[in-house]
C-alpha cells in the first residue's frame, strides 16, 4: 500500500509540473513593440529579485472578478501593453467576488516584489490596508475601473468623471432618433446619488444642446433585468409617442430592447444609452438598438498599466493635458487622478469586434 501512496504523490507532482511549466515562462516580447523611452527617467528602486529577460520590472493587474468578461476581455491587451513598455505583466484576481481572497493575492504579489499593482476593487475601503502595506514597500498602486479611497493608492487611472458619461448617453439618443422627440430614462436604483447626478447632467445637457428632446419619465430597474423589461412595457403603454428609452446603467439596455421587440415597436422606439456590447448585440440584430455607448474595458487596463509604468520610471506628468502614446486626450486631472476621456460608441457595424 505504501507503494501506491508514493505513486499517487509522484502522479500529483507530475500533474503540477505539467500544469505549471507552460505558464511560468514569460511570453516573448513583441518584436514591433519598442519600449517607451522616459523623458527624464528616475532611477527605479532596485527590487530584491531582478526581472528576467532584461525587463524593466513587473506590473500586476488585479481584478476582483476575473471570470467576468468585462475584465477577462482585457487580459491579452494588458499583457501586450506591458510587453510594449518593457514590463512583465501578471494578470490575476479572484474568479468571483471574494475580498479576503483578493487581499491574499495582493499579499502574495507584495512578496513577489512586483513594481506596481493596478487594482480594480469591488469596494473602496476593504483593500486600503493591504494597499498601504504595498505602498510602504515602494510598490506603486494604481486603481482603475472604480476608484478606491485615496489613502490606499498612489493614483487613480480613470476614464473620466463617470457622471459625464451622461453626455455621450444623450448623443446616443440623437444617433437613434435625431434631435427631436420624447425619451425616457431607465436607471439602476433611484436612491443612488451617483446615478442621479448623471441623470441631472443628461437632462441639463439635452435641454441646452437639444431643446427638441423631451424626457417624459425616469424609471428604475433595481438591477433586475426582468423589472427592466416590465417597466419598458409600462413606458410603451403609458407614453405611446415615446421614441427612445435611454439606459443609464450598462445592464438595462438588453431587456429594454427585448421589450421593444416583443411590443412590435421595432423602428418606432429605440433602446440607447449605456450597455456592454454583448447585451446590446441581440437588440442591434433586431433593429431595436442602433447606438450604445460604453468604454473599451481592455483599453482601460492598458491605461492603468501605462500610468503605472510612468510612475515606476518617474516620468514627468504635470497636472493638465499630457501627451501619452495611445491616449491623445489624456489629462492629469489632479495630482492623483488621471483621465483619458475615451468612451466608445457601439454600432451594428463594430459591435461584433467586442466580446464582454
Amino acid at each position: 500500500m505504501m507503494k501506491k501512496s508514493v505513486a499517487l504523490l509522484m502522479l500529483l507532482a507530475m500533474v503540477f509540473m505539467v500544469a505549471c511549466s507552460g505558464q511560468t515562462t514569460p511570453p516573448e516580447p513583441a518584436a514591433s513593440a519598442a519600449p517607451a523611452e522616459p523623458d527624464e527617467p528616475a532611477a527605479p528602486a532596485e527590487p530584491e529579485t531582478a526581472p528576467e529577460d532584461g525587463k524593466k520590472g513587473t506590473i500586476a493587474v488585479v481584478c476582483y472578478v476575473t471570470s467576468a468578461p468585462y475584465f477577462a476581455f482585457g487580459e491579452k491587451q494588458a499583457i501586450a501593453t506591458g510587453e510594449a513598455l518593457g514590463y512583465d505583466v501578471i494578470w490575476t484576481g479572484t474568479p468571483e467576488v471574494d475580498t479576503p481572497g483578493l487581499i491574499d493575492i495582493i499579499t502574495n504579489l507584495i512578496e513577489q516584489d512586483v513594481d506596481a499593482i493596478c487594482l480594480a476593487s469591488g469596494d473602496t475601503t476593504s483593500v486600503v490596508p493591504i494597499c498601504q502595506e504595498a505602498m510602504s514597500k515602494g510598490i506603486k498602486v494604481v486603481s482603475f475601473d472604480l476608484d478606491i479611497a485615496p489613502e490606499g493608492r498612489d493614483v487613480y487611472a480613470g476614464l473620466m468623471d463617470l457622471a459625464e458619461l451622461g453626455i455621450p448617453q444623450v448623443e446616443s439618443i440623437v444617433d437613434s432618433i435625431g434631435t427631436e422627440g420624447k425619451y425616457a430614462i431607465m436607471t439602476g436604483v433611484l436612491t443612488n446619488e451617483f446615478l442621479q447626478s448623471r441623470i441631472d447632467l443628461c437632462l441639463n445637457y439635452a435641454k441646452e444642446k437639444y431643446p427638441g428632446l423631451e424626457c417624459v419619465t425616469i424609471e428604475a430597474m433595481d438591477e433586475d433585468p426582468e423589472k427592466a423589461y416590465n417597466v419598458t412595457m409600462d413606458i410603451l403603454n403609458t407614453y405611446p409617442d415615446v421614441k427612445a428609452i435611454m439606459s443609464n446603467v450598462s445592464t438595462a439596455l438588453g431587456p429594454i430592447a427585448t421589450a421593444i421587440e416583443d411590443a412590435g415597436k421595432i423602428g418606432e422606439v429605440y433602446a440607447c444609452g449605456q450597455s456592454s456590447p454583448n447585451l446590446a448585440k441581440p437588440g442591434m440584430a433586431s433593429g431595436a438598438v442602433v447606438s450604445a455607448i460604453l468604454w473599451d474595458t481592455a483599453k482601460w487596463q492598458s491605461w492603468a498599466i501605462t500610468i503605472a509604468a510612468n510612475l515606476i520610471e518617474g516620468k514627468d506628468m504635470p497636472v493638465g493635458k499630457i501627451s501619452i502614446d495611445g491616449f491623445p486626450d489624456a489629462e492629469r486631472f489632479t495630482e492623483d487622478v488621471f483621465y483619458y476621456y475615451e468612451t466608445f460608441t457601439f454600432t451594428p457595424e463594430n459591435i461584433n469586434n467586442y466580446d464582454f
Binding site: F16, Q23, T49, V97, P100, D104, S126
Partner: protein, 319 residues
C-alpha cells in the same frame, strides 16, 4: 470495523501530510519567491480565515449536518463590528463582546431549529444564510462600512517582532481548543455518535437536542473569530465579505477526511485540508499561474484523494 475506519483516516492524514510536504518542496523548487520567511508567514496567515470557518463547518458535518450559514454570519459580524465601532463609537472591547453575544445567539437559533425542531440542518442553515445576509445588508445599507485603521489591528494585521502574524497564534489556540473538545472529551464523543447514528445515540441516553445546539453555537463562535480577523484585515465590514468561502470550507473538510454523512473525520484532518488548499493557492500565485487553473488543480486533487480513500475502504471491507 471501527478500527478499520480509524485505520483509513489515519492513513488519510498521513497522505495529506505527505502531500503538503511534497507541495511545499515542489513550490520551493519551482518558485524563487515561495521559500522566503515573509511568504512562509503569509502562507500560514492565509490559512487562518479559511481555517476558522472550516472548524465551524467540520464540527457541523461531524454532527451529521452542514452549517451553510457560517459565511453570511461571519460577514454579518464584520458589519456589526464596523457599525458598533465606527458609527456608534463603542470601545472595541465592548463591540467585540456584543458581537460575540449576537453571533452565539445566531448559532443558538440554528441549533434550536436543528436540535429541538428536528429540521434538516442544510435547510435550516440555508434559511439563516439568507437571513444573516439580509440583516447585514439592512444594517449596512448595502455598502461597505469602514473601521478606523488602528482599531482591531491586532487580530489581522499585527506582526509579532514585525515578522510573525498574530492571527496564527489565535488560529493555533482555536485548533487546540477544538481538538480537545471534539477529539478528547465526552461532549465530542457524543457529537460523533449523534453524527454517526442519531437513533443509536438516542437509545444510549445522549441528549441530542442540547448537543446539537452546542454544535451550532460552537460553529457560530468560530464564524465570529473569523469575522474578527477579516474585519481587521480589511478595516471594514461588508455583508457578503465571507460568502464565497463556504464551498472552500466544505472542500477543505472533505479533503481532510470529514464525511458529509456525519460521524467520521477529525479536526486535525480538516486542518490538513485547509493547509493543502492554502498552499496550492499561495504556490500558484507565486508561480504566476492563472487562478482558473487553481480551481482545476484543487478539484482534481480532491477527486484523487476521494478515489484513494474509497479504494482503501473497499480493500478493508468497510461499507
Amino acid at each position: 470495523m471501527r478500527a478499520n475506519s480509524k485505520a483509513v483516516f489515519a492513513k488519510s492524514s498521513t497522505i495529506m501530510i505527505l502531500l503538503f510536504i511534497a507541495l511545499f518542496i515542489f513550490f520551493s523548487v519551482a518558485s524563487r519567491h515561495f521559500f522566503a520567511v515573509g511568504n512562509i508567514m503569509n502562507l500560514f496567515a492565509q490559512m487562518v480565515e479559511l481555517g476558522l470557518l472550516t472548524l465551524a463547518m467540520a464540527v457541523s458535518m461531524i454532527s451529521g449536518g452542514m452549517d451553510l450559514s457560517i459565511g453570511t454570519l461571519c460577514s454579518f459580524c464584520t458589519v456589526l463590528l464596523a457599525i458598533f465601532i465606527s458609527q456608534l463609537a463603542l470601545p472595541a472591547g465592548i463591540a467585540i463582546v456584543l458581537v460575540l453575544l449576537i453571533a452565539l445567539l445566531c448559532g443558538a437559533l440554528n441549533g434550536f431549529f436543528v436540535g429541538y425542531l428536528h429540521i434538516t440542518p442544510m435547510l435550516v442553515t440555508l434559511g439563516t444564510q439568507s437571513l444573516f445576509l439580509g440583516l447585514g445588508l439592512v444594517v449596512s445599507k448595502g455598502v461597505t462600512v469602514s473601521i478606523p485603521i488602528d482599531q482591531l489591528a491586532i487580530f489581522g494585521r499585527y506582526k509579532i517582532g514585525g515578522v510573525f502574524p498574530f492571527q496564527i497564534l489565535l488560529f493555533i489556540a482555536a485548533i487546540i481548543f477544538s481538538v480537545i473538545l471534539f477529539n478528547h472529551s465526552r461532549t465530542g464523543r457524543r457529537i460523533y455518535l449523534i453524527g454517526s447514528d442519531a437513533e443509536v445515540a438516542r437509545f444510549a441516553g445522549i441528549d441530542i437536542r442540547n448537543n446539537l445546539l452546542f454544535t451550532y453555537v460552537f460553529s457560530s463562535f468560530m464564524a465570529f473569530a473569523a469575522a474578527l480577523v477579516i474585519a481587521s484585515r480589511i478595516s471594514s465590514g461588508r455583508a457578503d465579505v465571507a460568502s464565497a468561502r463556504i464551498l472552500q470550507t466544505v472542500c477543505a473538510a472533505v479533503f481532510g477526511g470529514v464525511s458529509t454523512l456525519g460521524g467520521i473525520g477529525t479536526i486535525g484532518g480538516a486542518m490538513l485540508g485547509v493547509a493543502v488548499i492554502t498552499i496550492v493557492s499561495n504556490g500558484i500565485d507565486m508561480l504566476q499561474v492563472s487562478q482558473f487553473l487553481q480551481q482545476i488543480i484543487t478539484g482534481g486533487m480532491l477527486l484523487i484523494v476521494l478515489a484513494f480513500r474509497h479504494a482503501r475502504k473497499n480493500n478493508l471491507g468497510i461499507a
